[in-house]
C-alpha cells in the first residue's frame, strides 16, 4: 500500500468517526442564562443562524427593563414602560423562555439548576448574567440603604424611586452623585445621568445644584460632557475628581451625608453607584476570577475557566470593549457563531465586534463614542488605530448634536429589535 493510499483511507476513517458528532450537532441544546442585551441576542442569533438548534433562555424577570434610556426616565423624558422589553419576540423566534433563577451550574454533568429545583441539560451554555452590585464596597451603604440613597444602576423600581426623590426635591436643593471606580457597567452612564437631571432641574428647579463625587480622575466622554455642562447648565454641576478629594470614604443614609476628601457633604437626594462584579451565578460557578469578572477567549467568548461555557456581556472581561448593551449585543452574535461552529465540529469564525454608545445631554443634544475592534488570540480585543472615537468637539452646520440625539433614539429602537425581536 502506498503512503498516499494509506492517507486516503485514514482520512475516510476520520470522516466516518466525525459523522455521529455532526448528527448530534443538529440536535444541539444551548441554554442561555439571562435575557438582557447579551443573552437575548445570543438566543435570537442561534435560532436565526440555525433553526434546528434547541435554545432555552432562563430569565428571572417577566420582562427586561433596560438601563439604556433609564437616565431619560430620571429626567422625566421617558417612561418606565417605554424602556421595558417583552420576551414575546424571543418566544416567537422559537426560543424556549423559562422564567426562573439559575442557582447553580453543574459543569461536569452540563446541567443548569434552577431555584425551584428543576434542571436543564445543555451541550453549550451561554452565561450572560450582567452585574451584581457590591454594596459592601461603599462603607455605610447596603441593599437596605438603597431605599434612602438609590443606586438606580439596575433599571426598574430603583429608577422610579430616584425619579420620585428628584421630583420631591425643593428648588435650590443639592443632588449628589457618587460614581464608582473602573470597571463598571456603562462608563458614560453616571455623566449622562448628571446631564439629564441637570436638564430637568434647568426647566423645573433652576436654583438646584449637582455635586459629583468621583472615585476616578477622568471619565468617559469627559471633554464632551464638560463642554456641554458649561454651555447648557453653567454653574449647576460641580464634578470633583478622586485626586481632588472626590473619592467617597463612607456614607450615612440616615443623615443623608457623604464623607469625602473635604469633609461631610449633605444631599437632598443622593445617588450611590456602588462597585460591581459579574452576576452571582458567574461567581458561584467559579467562572469569575479574583477581580470578580469572567476571563474569556477573545475569539469566541468561551470561558477560560470551564469547557462548553461562554460568558458574554458586562460579566465578561472583553479587553478594550466597555461594559455596554451594544458590546453585549455584539458579543452575543460572536458567541452564537462560535457555538454553532463548535457543535458542527468546525473552527470558530473570525469574530466581528463593535460598540456604539450614545449619551444624551439634553433630549436634543446627543454625543457618541464608537469603536470597531481588532481581535487576536495574542493581543485580545483592541481598538482599531486611527478610527472610531468621539463625536466632533466643535459641531458644524450639519447639526451633529441634534442629529446624534435622534440617532440615540434610533439606536435604542433598533438594538432593541435586534436583541429581543
Amino acid at each position: 500500500m502506498t503512503a498516499t493510499r494509506r492517507a486516503v483511507i485514514a482520512g475516510s476513517v476520520a470522516v466516518t468517526l466525525a459523522a455521529p458528532r455532526l448528527a448530534r450537532a443538529a440536535a444541539g441544546a444551548v441554554v442561555v442564562i439571562g435575557a438582557g442585551f447579551g443573552g437575548a441576542t445570543a438566543a435570537r442569533y442561534l435560532k436565526r443562524l440555525d433553526p434546528a438548534v434547541d435554545v432555552t433562555l432562563v430569565e428571572r424577570e417577566a420582562s427586561i427593563v433596560t438601563c439604556p434610556f433609564s437616565n431619560a426616565v430620571l429626567g422625566g423624558y421617558e417612561t418606565l414602560q417605554g424602556i421595558t422589553r417583552s420576551l414575546g419576540g424571543l418566544k416567537a423566534a422559537g426560543v424556549k423562555v423559562v422564567r426562573g433563577e439559575a442557582s447553580a451550574i453543574d459543569l461536569q454533568a452540563r446541567r443548569v439548576r434552577l431555584a425551584d429545583g428543576s434542571r436543564i441539560a445543555y451541550d453549550r451554555l451561554v452565561v450572560s448574567p450582567g452585574i451584581d452590585l457590591n454594596f459592601a464596597g461603599v462603607a455605610g451603604y447596603s441593599e437596605a440603604a438603597a431605599a434612602q440613597m438609590p443606586h438606580a444602576w439596575k433599571a426598574g423600581a430603583q429608577t422610579m424611586l430616584l425619579r420620585q426623590q428628584l421630583e420631591a426635591m425643593p428648588d435650590g436643593g443639592t443632588f449628589i452623585v457618587v460614581p464608582p471606580a473602573n470597571p463598571f457597567r456603562c462608563p458614560p452612564g453616571p455623566y449622562e445621568r448628571v446631564s439629564l437631571v441637570a436638564s430637568y432641574f434647568k426647566a423645573k428647579k433652576p436654583k438646584s445644584k449637582i455635586l459629583v463625587l468621583d472615585a476616578k480622575d477622568n471619565f468617559s466622554k469627559q471633554g464632551l460632557f464638560q463642554a456641554a455642562w458649561e454651555a447648557e447648565f453653567p454653574g449647576m454641576i460641580d464634578w470633583i475628581a478622586g485626586k481632588d478629594g472626590g473619592k467617597v470614604e463612607s456614607v450615612d443614609p440616615a443623615a443623608m451625608t457623604v464623607k469625602c476628601g473635604f469633609g461631610s457633604q449633605k444631599g437632598d437626594v443622593v445617588n450611590i453607584i456602588p462597585p460591581q462584579r459579574a452576576g452571582a451565578i458567574a461567581q458561584s460557578a467559579a467562572l469569575a476570577g479574583d477581580n470578580g469578572w469572567c476571563p474569556v477567549d477573545p475569539m469566541t467568548f468561551a470561558s477560560t475557566k470551564a469547557t462548553n461555557v461562554h460568558v458574554i456581556g458586562d460579566a465578561s472581561i472583553a479587553g478594550a470593549m466597555p461594559k455596554s448593551g451594544s458590546s453585549a449585543n455584539a458579543q452575543g452574535k460572536v458567541a452564537a457563531g462560535a457555538i454553532l461552529a463548535s457543535l458542527a465540529g468546525k473552527p470558530a469564525p473570525t469574530p466581528a465586534l463593535n460598540n456604539i454608545c450614545y449619551s444624551l445631554v439634553t433630549p436634543d443634544y446627543g454625543i457618541s463614542v464608537t469603536d470597531v475592534y481588532q481581535v487576536t488570540k495574542d493581543k485580545g480585543i483592541t481598538t482599531t488605530p486611527n478610527a472610531g472615537g468621539l463625536s466632533v468637539r466643535t459641531p458644524t452646520d450639519l447639526g451633529e448634536r441634534k442629529l446624534e440625539a435622534a440617532f440615540a433614539r434610533g439606536w435604542y429602537r433598533n438594538i432593541s429589535a435586534d436583541s429581543w425581536g
Partner: protein, 97 residues
C-alpha cells in the same frame, strides 16, 4: 471623481477573497444592525441599509472613510475597515433579501 469610481470598481472585483483573513461580510454586517436594525431595516431615525446596491454602498463607505461625505458617526466607523472589508460588507449587503 473618475479616479474614485475606478478605485471603487477595483474594490468590487478584488475584495471578497482577500478579506477572508478577517471577519466574513456577514459577521461584519451583523454588527451594523445594532444601529440600523435587524437585517438593516431601521425603524427610526437611522437610515436603513440598502440592498442590492453593491457599487453604491462601496462608494458611500469610501466617501465616509475619506471624510468627503458629511456624517456624525459613519466617518469614524468607516475608517475602521480596510477597502477589502468594505467590499466584503457591500457584497453581503447586496445579497440580502
Amino acid at each position: 471623481m473618475r479616479a474614485l469610481a475606478a478605485f471603487a470598481a477595483t474594490l468590487l472585483t478584488a475584495g471578497v477573497a482577500a478579506a477572508q483573513d478577517g471577519p466574513s461580510g456577514q459577521a461584519m454586517v451583523q454588527t451594523c444592525y445594532v444601529c440600523h436594525g435587524p437585517e438593516g431595516r431601521s425603524a427610526e431615525a437611522v437610515p436603513a441599509l440598502l440592498r442590492g446596491q453593491k457599487e453604491f454602498v462601496v462608494r458611500q463607505m469610501i466617501e465616509f472613510k475619506a471624510d468627503r461625505r458629511p456624517a456624525t458617526i459613519m466617518n469614524r466607523i468607516a475608517k475602521s475597515y480596510s477597502d477589502e472589508q468594505i467590499a466584503a460588507i457591500a457584497d453581503y449587503l447586496a445579497g440580502l433579501k
